[in-house]
């Protein structure tokens, strides 16, 4: 694969090599000038390149995706949203006991009273455990048909987790009521329908972030391409030049020193 930085690096190396070769040639020429009676009074020719502008046409062969763990990204999104989901479940009205009259419904969290926080954490942990263990089967199903998944497996898991938490809290909330069961099913379906596109977006963004551009730079790769698919790089390099200067050292001796121009 040819990256942009590979091409730029190669060009910079070429510029440096040109500078070195020019200096080597000048050094050889100076030897010849020194030994020649006539030439020794002439300045040694030396080429200087102060700036180079390089224009390069390339084409992007393809965008190369780096490895992305889509399951891990999906899992992160799902697990991150569980506390909000559990809060919605705990907000579903329910009768405090099966024998309580119709109209006595209160949010489940309120019915659980002081045990609500522990119950919320228990439900969240149970659902997280289920999601984490089953993500390989879970995500394809959720992403393909969120409504079916929400009203099926996810509703069942949620009801099971709620029942266990209510029992652990020592509550006799009427969670088997048809209205409560129906409301949990609705919450589970709504969650699945909302989280599936959110997780898919997170995966898409990750895929879009981790890529490389593979460039075509060889003549036979780009010669027949139409102009509208070509990309172009115009690069400006500056080259530092050096010259010999004659100076006196601390002892007053005349010395030659190579200094930047």
């Amino acid at each position: 694969m040819v990256r942009v930085s590979d091409i730029v690096g190669a060009l910079m190396r070429g510029v440096t090599t040109a500078r070195i070769q020019s200096d080597i040639y000048s050094a050889q020429a100076s030897q010849s000038y020194l030994t020649d009676e006539l030439l020794r009074s002439y300045p040694v020719p030396r080429a200087e390149i102060r700036q180079a502008d390089v224009s390069l046409k390339v084409s992007i062969l393809e965008t190369v995706q780096k490895n992305i763990d889509t399951m891990a990204i999906a899992l992160q999104t799902l697990v991150g949203d569980l506390p909000a989901y559990v809060a919605k479940v705990l907000a579903i009205p329910v009768r405090p006991q099966p024998s309580a009259p119709a109209g006595s419904e209160q949010p489940l969290g309120q019915v659980l009273g002081g045990a609500a926080a522990a119950a919320a954490e228990q439900i969240r942990a149970a659902l997280e455990g289920y999601v984490t263990t089953n993500i390989q089967a879970f995500w394809p199903e959720l992403s393909t048909n969120p409504k079916k998944f929400g009203s099926g497996a996810w509703k069942t898991q949620t009801q099971g987790a709620v029942a266990a938490a209510v029992a652990a809290a020592g509550s006799s909330a009427a969670i088997a009521d048809a209205n409560f069961t129906k409301a949990v099913a609705a919450a589970a379906t709504a969650w699945a329908e909302a989280i599936a596109p959110a997780a898919q977006l997170a995966i898409d963004l990750a895929l879009a972030s981790f890529f490389d551009l593979d460039l075509a730079v060889k003549k036979d790769q780009i010669l027949t391409l139409p102009p509208h698919v070509m990309s172009e790089f115009r690069l400006t390099f500056v080259i530092e030049n050096y010259e010999w200067t004659t100076v006196k050292d601390k002892q007053g001796n005349t010395i030659n020193r190579l200094t930047r121009k």
Partner: protein
Amino acid sequence: MATPIPLNRIGTYLVHELVRARDAFASAPDGGPFAALVGAEVSVAFASADGLPVEPVVSAGDEPLPPDALVRWLEPLERRVLVAQADVKKADEAARGRLVLRVALEGA
């Protein structure tokens, strides 16, 4: 068809690649003293992923900007595009555009 990529990520990638090349060369034992990359103009052909029309040229202007300023300018460009030659080649003319970035790399 390749994965559509937001235009700002294409631009940011290119800016990072230029900075990476400049910095790598500056610190190379056989490089540093002689040559330095001080500026670049990049023109990349793209096609909108949805096939809808795009601006023919997307650019921050004629003046080169330092890498960090250019990346900030790129941020809102969320349009998803395709840059692979095969995708650009077959796109409608109206759906094709160019991202033109002028980067000032000296001392940045």
